[in-house]
Structures are given as C-alpha cells and as structure tokens.
C-alpha cells in the first residue's frame, strides 16, 4: 500500500518512539538527493516556540514508518543528536523551493514549490517535483532518472508532457509511466 505526499506536508509532524510512546520532536527539514531521487532523512526541532530549533537528524534507515499523523522510530537512539554530526549531514545542501527548473534543451519550466514523495513498505522515495509556473499554476513533473542540478534543476526533455496538475492526476501518471516501463522504478 503506497501513498503520495508533498514533502512540505511532513514538516511539523511529531516524531514518536515505538518503545516508549514519547514524542521526541517534530520534523523540521525534509532532505532528499535529487540525483538518486531518494529520501535522505529529516532534521528535527523541538516542540514549542522556545524549544530547540535543531534537535537532531533522523536518517532514512532509522524511520520505522511515516504515517498520516506521525513519523515513528524504534527508539530515541534512532536520532543523531551530536551537533557536529548533524551539521555534517546537512552540509552542502540547497533549498529546493524557489530553485529554477529547466529542461535539458533549455526551456524554463518555473521554480520548485515542493517535492513529491511516495511512501511505501520500503520507505520513502522522491517521485516528482511541484513546479510553480507563475500566476497560480502548478505542474507536477515526474522525477525521471534523477535530476542534475547546477544553477537550476535540469529535467529531461519531455518531462513537461508527462506531468500533471494535482496529486491525484500525478498518481495516475506514475502508474502509466511504470506500466510503460514494466516495473516499479522510475
């Protein structure tokens, strides 16, 4: 059973330990690798305005489940709390929202609004990018074969035609693309 979500919707979700029923923090940043179209992990912040703005890092492998209402981890030790180690994880990072998207042949598509993740039994994967085309229009472009990213994110020619305007439409596009390729991966 899989579902697709916008990465931005995961921000603020509580992170809960399965062994103690304790909320250790909330999701602050969602980290992904565009070259591998993979989910890398979450940074966490404390709950409440006066709490710590950066509590730790939760690697992809330590996420037991990403549910509709909470991210579940086995125990508190799943969290990397050492400040230097956490900073190492988020070094060399780039904010996705606001980044420009162009096709390989140079057509400007717009700027990234959000990233679409698929949540399944194996975990989370990057499956698409929400592109703001201006004037309130948004297009969801499938994450085909990983994206190159220099000054702008470069997507293959034809990514625009294989895109949808909403998550429901995008789900169908994903199914079609997978059926065409005869497999699960994009």
């Amino acid at each position: 059973m899989t579902r697709i979500v916008r990465a931005g919707d995961l921000i603020g979700m509580p992170v809960v330990t399965l062994d103690e029923g304790r909320i250790v923090g909330e999701v602050r940043d969602v980290l992904f690798d565009p070259r591998r179209s993979s989910f890398v992990g979450f940074t966490l912040r404390g709950r409440g305005l006066l709490s710590s703005p950066l509590l730790g890092f939760l690697a992809e492998s330590e996420v037991a489940s990403t549910g509709k209402d909470a991210v579940m981890i086995a125990s508190d030790s799943a969290l990397m709390r050492d400040r230097d180690a956490v900073k190492q994880q988020v070094a060399d990072k780039r904010e996705a929202p606001g980044s420009e998207v162009v096709t390989a042949s140079g057509t400007a598509l717009g700027t990234i609004n959000d990233v679409v993740l698929e949540i399944g039994p194996a975990g989370l994967a990057v499956v698409g990018y929400c592109v703001d085309r201006g004037e309130g229009r948004e297009l969801i472009v499938p994450a085909l074969e990983g994206a190159e990213w220099d000054d702008a994110m470069i997507v293959p020619d034809g990514a625009e035609t294989a895109s949808a305007e909403g998550l429901v439409g995008f789900s169908r596009i994903l199914e079609q693309l997978r059926a065409a390729r005869g497999g699960v991966g994009l």
């Binding site: 399965l18 304790r22 909320i23 489940s65 549910g67 209402d69 909470a70 991210v71």
Partner: protein, 155 residues
C-alpha cells in the same frame, strides 16, 4: 467486564475485616501483556500509594478486594511517571504503530478477574485489543486495527 471509568474512584478493601486501603486513582498498564500491574491509590492508609495488582482478588461494582492491606512507595521510572500523572490514560492520544492517529482514549474495558484489557473506547469506534505497543507519557501506541475488526466495531 469493567470499564476504567467505573474502576477509578472505587474503594480498595481487604477481604478479611473489610479494612479500607484507599481508593483507585490511576492504573499502570503493562503494554506487552495488556494488563493492569499496579494502581496509584488516593487517600491511602499508611501513606504509601502504590498497590500491586497481584494482590487483588476481585473487582466488582462496589469495590476492589485485596488479600492484604499492603501498599508501597513507587519504584522505578514508570511508577514515578504514574505518580507524576504522565501516564494518565483518559484523553491520551492513540496512534497506530504506522503513524495514524485514532483519537483520544474515552474508556478502556477490562476483564475484572485478570485485569487484562479487552477493548479500547475511542471516538467513533470500540477496538478489541489484547496488548499495546507502548503506553507512554505522550501517546499510546497500538497495532493497526485489521479491516474486519475495525468494521465490526464502528459505532
């Protein structure tokens, strides 16, 4: 069956002499076994507030009968959390182990002989339940209800 709402506030009496030991204030559940293992008493005689559920002989609408008037101080982190009110069950949020919120606990049905949890009362549904994944200070975690048990128990 007895509901937690009926159990809380009940007098605890010894079998012989019907000595009043105290009144049930909060219960401590063992999540894996899904049963009451201790209770925090209110107005305990002798000043100690923890009652081991092992000495409970029977639970009825009129009182909890224990084999002896034996209470003690809290031992360990969980009993301390119980005393601090952090393991209060009523109103505690329930999550499935895959991260879906089911609402807040309205009541818990227990077998009065064994102290085992039988059903969990949540907004809009009553779930048959044998054990918990965790009973914690922030949330209670249960295994995801199967489609058939959820359908059978929806009000």
């Amino acid at each position: 069956m007895i509901r937690l709402t009926q159990l809380v506030g009940q007098r605890v009496l010894t079998r012989e002499g019907s000595q009043l030991v105290g009144a049930v204030h909060r219960v401590l559940l063992d999540p894996g076994r899904g049963m009451i293992i201790a209770a925090q008493l209110q107005a305990p005689v002798g000043g100690h507030s923890i009652l081991d559920w092992a000495i409970v002989e029977s639970v009825g609408r009129d009182g909890v009968v224990v084999s002896e008037a034996r209470t003690r101080e809290p031992e360990g982190e969980r009993e301390q959390q119980l005393i601090d009110g952090r393991l209060e069950l009523f109103g505690k949020s329930v999550l499935t182990e895959d991260g879906t919120a089911l609402g807040e606990i309205e009541d818990i049905e227990l077998d009065e002989v064994s102290g085992r949890v039988v059903r969990l009362h949540l907004p809009g549904q009553v779930l048959p339940l044998g054990r918990f994944v965790a009973v914690g200070p922030d949330v209670v975690i249960i295994a995801a209800p199967t489609a058939s048990s959820a359908a059978a128990s929806a009000r």
